[in-house]
Amino acid sequence: MAKPRTVVMVPVDADTVAIGARDVKNRFAEEIGRRGLASEISVLEVGSFGPVDAGVIAAVQPDGVVYGGLTPDRVDRIVEEHFVKGRACREWLLSGEHPLPDPRATDSRHTQYAGRIVLDNCGRINPENIDEYIANDGYFALGKALSDMTPAAVVEDVKKSGLRGRGGAGFPTGLKWGFCASETGPEKYVVCNADEGEPGTFKDRLIMEGDPHKVLEGMALCGYAIGASKGYIYIRGEYKLSIERLRQAIAAARAYGLLGNNILDSGFTFDIDIKIGAGAYVCGEETALIESMEGKRGLPRLKPPFPAQQGFRNKPTNVNNVETLANIPAIVQRGADWFRGVGAANMPGTKVYTILGHVRRPGLIEVPGGVTLRDIIDDYAGGMKHGNFKMAQLGGTAGDLLGEEMLDVPLNYDALEKVGHVLGSGAILIMNETIGVCDFLHACMRFFAHESCGNCNPCRNGLRWLSAITARLKAGTGYPGDIEIMEEIATVLKTAAFCPLGQSPAGPITSALRYFKPEIEKGIDHSSARPKPDHTARALATFAG
């Protein structure tokens, strides 16, 4: 990526936005783009850096020039004078000394560590050295819980924190722990779901690679809270480096007595082992995962009974996602109130997203709960790389497709539910206008058809049909009526598939139809001379590929 030579920074905050800062920023971007300078000059929205009462301002770095009192019209002149002719435009120069922000530091919030909870150590400490984790207060949450808190108090704290599962379904974590804690009997299990099969999601891998002890500590805290003495990490076999580092971390924690018998002389015993999965997507579903752990084929179980009642070896089992567990040490150590103070009221804490697609800075970000998609693209991912935003898929392949209308909806469970969407696992795929909706849908449906475990009819056959229909829509050879069939299959999947693997593909289909129906309709060939579609099973077999 070529580094932009010059940076225009427009501070946008509550005060300046009211007087048109965003219009000014957009005008800069437009004008610079119009004159073909976009690859040399980048335009950034930054936080306030000092000057007040000067209207909308903009700083140009490295030139060290600050303009004040800007309006969109004045921007045109500045672009002309400053960037084309190469001399600062005197009329609106702001006089006086201004400590200017370093464009690289303010370039985007993406580069900042401040505010990270889950990823605070990632990229900073040596994951293979337990001492470095301890130096950053690692294992002190466990120490605190074991010395000052009852198991019930830990459950209570997690409940109060408002933490919800980060594996996709968003179930309140404290509530789940409470179910398991209330089960009697000495044999219970903690399972960390590290299967991470959702295409486009790789946050758990980076957490385990970068800070494995945080996951172990979260599991030990969970074990203490629910009364389990054994934990398993179910991890996909492809995650070689994560497995290696987790193994190493477990050994180091055992050597320090932070896992094993009588931890920190508290009488609490807890140990962790690793189970390696074979890569089936359905094995990320918690009951299929448990089957797989027991050495069987990964078929989802009927719920209820839930794993909290009868899970691994039919004993009470608490299954949580890696990221969920990695939030626990901070909650226990710093308290539920602190956690609630981060993020939005209805989504406390942060969320880790993997951001992919046509953005300037794909990668991993951790943001306060409730920021909008627009914020994520502009502030954390450096903006669109090329082209204009067309759509985003939120939450991996099972996630909904969002159109431009949804850019300003806060990304939290409730706000999304209100507009008929779900948050999902944390992958955000941003696409520009070069991606066709039917193309995209077909890629998703092929994936699901391939991963269906085959146990129930709606999913096994429905997904093959969706794959076939999206393939012909993509080729422009769809049949009249195909869209109605897709809608019908989506409804059947949603209502009749046995497990969420089969239910969730309805999401991309219905949301795509909601925002992009006209484009999908273009995939239909209306010429009457065509033969009728062959809907026999054999024809299907050749379609679905």
């Binding site: 370093d102 990632c122 990229g123 900073r124 994951p127 001492d131 980076l206 920190l264």
Partner: protein, 121 residues
Amino acid sequence: MKNLEELRKIRDEARKTMDLRSGNQRARVVVCMGTCGIAAGARDTMQAFMESLEEAGATDVAVTAAGCAGFCDQEPLVEVEIKDGSTVRYGHVDAAAAQRIVKEHLMQGKVVESLVFSQGA
């Protein structure tokens, strides 16, 4: 380890070694070695740092590995922390870039501007 007191001791010891101000190290180089970092060549980068530092005779610079910082498109990513408190993150650091960083930043104290990804925490 038998109790919280011992855990505290380990923490304080570890902090001392990690904190440049209290140690005898003048700088620290942290190479991101997550899967994406390694795939982008971080092992070669690490190797190049070790070799160039040895060549330069710098025994007071620590080189360590860390996990992924999340800036996947910048890999191999390297953080250079100097005793005076400044921290610079460099992106796309291949072996040649590593040699430059050793020569200019670590030995002569001049940040290699053209390779900087971000500065400060």
